[in-house]
Symmetry: C2
Subunit: 340 residues, 2 copies
C-alpha cells in the first residue's frame, strides 16, 4: 500500500508537505502542490483510513442502525439520512440490527470504538436503553429516529406523531361505519407500538366504544398466531376492520384473510401505518398512515451533525413529525389527504 512517505519520496519533499497538500493546500507553494499532486496521481495514493482516524480522532462516517432493512419504511429513512450526510461531506453506512438486541449492541460498539463519528438509531426496543446509556459517557453523539425511549429523555429523537395519527385513523374507520375493530400490535416494549395503542384507545373512548383486549393481538410472530382473526374475531365477533401496527403486519393479515376466502376491503377492511405497497402495484385498498420517512432520516441526520459540530441547539431536541392519512379507494377529490 502506497503511503504518505512514498509520495513524498517521489515528489522530493517530506511527508509533512504531502500531508499539507491534502489538508492545508493554502500553506504550500503552488509548484510543490503540483509536484506532489502529480506524484499522488502516479502512485494512485489513497490515505490509510485507520491511521488518519487515529491521528485525527474522527472518521467523517455516520452510521444508521435500523431494525429491518427489508422494510421500505426504513430504506426511505436511509435515503433521507444519506442525502444530508453526503451534502455535509460525510459517508453514511447502514447497519441492519434485525430486531436483535445482540446485533444492535455489536453495531453500537462501532461508535464507542470511534469507527464512526455518530449514529442515528432506530432501536430494537426500550431495553436498548441499557446499551445507549453508556454512549454519553464517551460523548458519542446519538439521535434516535422513529422509535424513542421514554426512560432516556436526554436523548435527541425524531419520530412520527404516532398517537395522533393512529387516533385519526381509527376515527376515520369509525366514521366509515366500522365499530367492530380488531387490532394487531407488536412488541409493546417498542415506543411506536405503545403510542399507536394509546391513539387507538383515545379514539375508541371518544366514540364510546370499549377497548376489548380479546380483539387485540400482540407479539404475534408466527403465522399461526394470526389464526385467531379468522377463527374467532370475524366469525364470532363480526369484526369488519383490522388495524395492523405496520405495513408488514398488514400484509400478513391480508394474506390470511384472502386465503380464508374473505374479500378485502369488502368483507374486512385492513389498515395500518406505512405503505404496505411501496411500488403501488395495487389499487390501494388498504388505507394507511403515511409517515414522513424521508424527512425523519433528514432531520435526524441534521440534528446529529449539529451535535457532532457542537453547534446548534444546546438542550435536548425532540422532533415529532406530522403524518398523513391516505386512502386511495376514495376518488381524488375526496381524498383524505386533500382535506388536511
Amino acid at each position: 500500500m502506497i503511503k504518505l512517505s512514498d509520495v513524498a519520496k517521489r515528489a522530493g519533499v517530506s511527508s509533512m508537505t504531502v500531508s499539507r497538500v491534502i489538508n492545508h493546500p493554502d500553506k504550500v507553494s503552488a509548484d510543490t502542490i503540483l509536484r506532489v499532486q502529480k506524484a499522488m496521481e502516479e502512485l494512485q495514493y489513497v490515505s490509510n483510513g485507520p491511521a488518519k482516524s487515529l491521528a485525527l480522532g474522527q472518521t467523517r462516517i455516520l452510521a444508521l442502525l435500523v431494525p429491518d432493512i427489508t422494510n421500505p419504511f426504513f430504506t426511505t429513512v436511509a435515503r433521507g439520512a444519506e442525502d444530508v450526510a453526503r451534502d455535509a461531506g460525510y459517508r453514511l453506512i447502514l447497519c441492519n440490527t434485525d430486531e436483535n438486541p445482540q446485533v444492535e449492541w455489536n453495531y453500537l460498539q462501532m461508535s464507542r470504538s470511534r469507527q464512526v463519528d455518530g449514529m442515528i438509531v432506530s432501536v430494537c426496543d426500550d431495553n436498548s436503553a441499557a446499551h445507549l446509556k453508556v454512549l454519553p459517557i464517551d460523548k458519542v453523539p446519538v439521535v434516535l429516529v422513529d422509535r424513542k425511549i421514554p426512560s432516556e429523555p436526554y436523548l435527541d429523537y425524531v419520530v412520527g406523531d404516532n398517537v395522533l395519527a393512529s387516533e385519526q385513523l381509527i376515527d376515520y374507520l369509525i366514521t366509515k361505519g366500522h365499530t367492530r375493530l380488531g387490532f394487531v400490535f407488536g412488541n409493546p416494549a417498542v415506543s411506536v407500538i405503545r403510542d399507536r395503542m394509546a391513539g387507538v384507545q383515545r379514539s375508541l373512548k371518544r366514540h364510546d366504544l370499549i377497548w376489548r383486549p380479546d380483539l387485540c393481538l400482540t407479539q404475534a410472530r408466527s403465522p399461526g398466531d394470526y389464526r385467531l382473526i379468522t377463527d374467532d374475531w370475524i366469525p364470532r365477533h363480526h369484526v369488519t376492520a383490522i388495524f395492523a401496527w405496520n405495513n408488514l403486519t398488514a400484509a400478513h393479515v391480508y394474506h390470511l384473510l384472502v386465503s380464508h376466502g374473505y374479500r378485502v376491503p369488502d368483507d374486512v377492511l385492513v389498515s395500518c401505518f406505512d405503505n404496505p405497497d411501496p411500488l403501488s402495484i395495487t389499487n390501494g385498498f388498504i388505507p394507511f398512515v403515511r409517515q414522513p420517512a424521508y424527512d425523519m432520516g433528514r432531520n435526524a441526520t441534521i440534528q446529529l451533525l449539529e451535535r457532532i459540530a457542537g453547534s446548534g441547539r444546546q438542550g435536548v431536541v425532540h422532533q415529532i413529525l406530522v403524518s398523513q392519512l391516505v386512502d386511495r379507494t376514495l376518488t381524488p377529490t375526496t381524498r383524505i389527504a386533500e382535506h388536511r
Copy 2:
C-alpha cells in the same frame, strides 16, 4: 475515552497483559484474567477501532455496495450477505450508491483506505471498471454481485442466469398467446440489461418473431418517456404484453397502463424480473422471474471471505445462480414453479 493503559493501571498490570486478555487469553494466568476483566467492566472499556485496525491491518468489517437500497431485491441480497458475515465474526455495512458512479467511487475508497476488509459490489454500470481496476493493485478483495463487468473477467462474481431466465419468460408469454410484445429496458451499460435483452432475442428468434427496436424502450428515466407505450405501442401496434427489466420499472408501466384505463393483465400483461410486490399484497397478476437474491448475497460473501482468508479456490470464481418463473395467476397445481 478509556484506553488500554487505563485498564492496565487499574488492574495493576501492563497494557500488554490487557491486550492479551482480549486477544490471547490462553496465554494469561486465570486470576490476572479475572482482575483485568473486572477492571474492563468497571471502566466500560471499549477498544479504539482505528488504533486496532492500524496495528492489525484489518477491521473485520465487510461492505456491501448496492445501487438502490430501496429496491427489495437488494435488501434481500443484503440479508444474505449479512447472515454469512455475522456467522464469520464480521460486521456488514451497507452503502447505497444510488446508481451514481461518483458516490460509488467514494465508497470504493473505503476499501482502498483499509476501512473495510473487503467489498461485495453491485456496480452502477460497466464504467465502474475503471474504478475497480485499481483495487487489485492494493490487493483489496472484491466480489461482484448481480451485475458483472465483461471487461474485467478476473473479478469474482455471483449473478443470476439472466439470459436463460428472460428467454424462458418470453417463451412463456408467447406460449400464452402473446406475440405482440413491448419491452422496457434500462441502461445497456449494465450487464443484466444486456443479458436480459439477449435472452429475449433468443426466444423471439426461436419462435420466428422479429425483434422490433421500435417496440423497445431503453434508458427511460422520466415518467414521460413511458408515454410511447400508451400513445403508440398499444393503440397502433396492438401490443398485448410488456416485459419490464425489473420490478420498479414494471411498477411504473403498470401505473401508466392503469391510469390510461387499461386492465392488467386482461388488456395488457406486464411481466418482469424480481418481485414487484414484495409484501405480496396483490393477487400476483404480474408474472415475474424470481432471482435467488438471498443466496446471491450469501454466496458472494462466502466467496469474499475465502479471498480474504487467502484460502479457497485459486482461480477466478464465476457463479451463475438459477432463477425461477413465478405466475401466481395460475392455480397452484399448474404453477410454473412446480413444473421445474
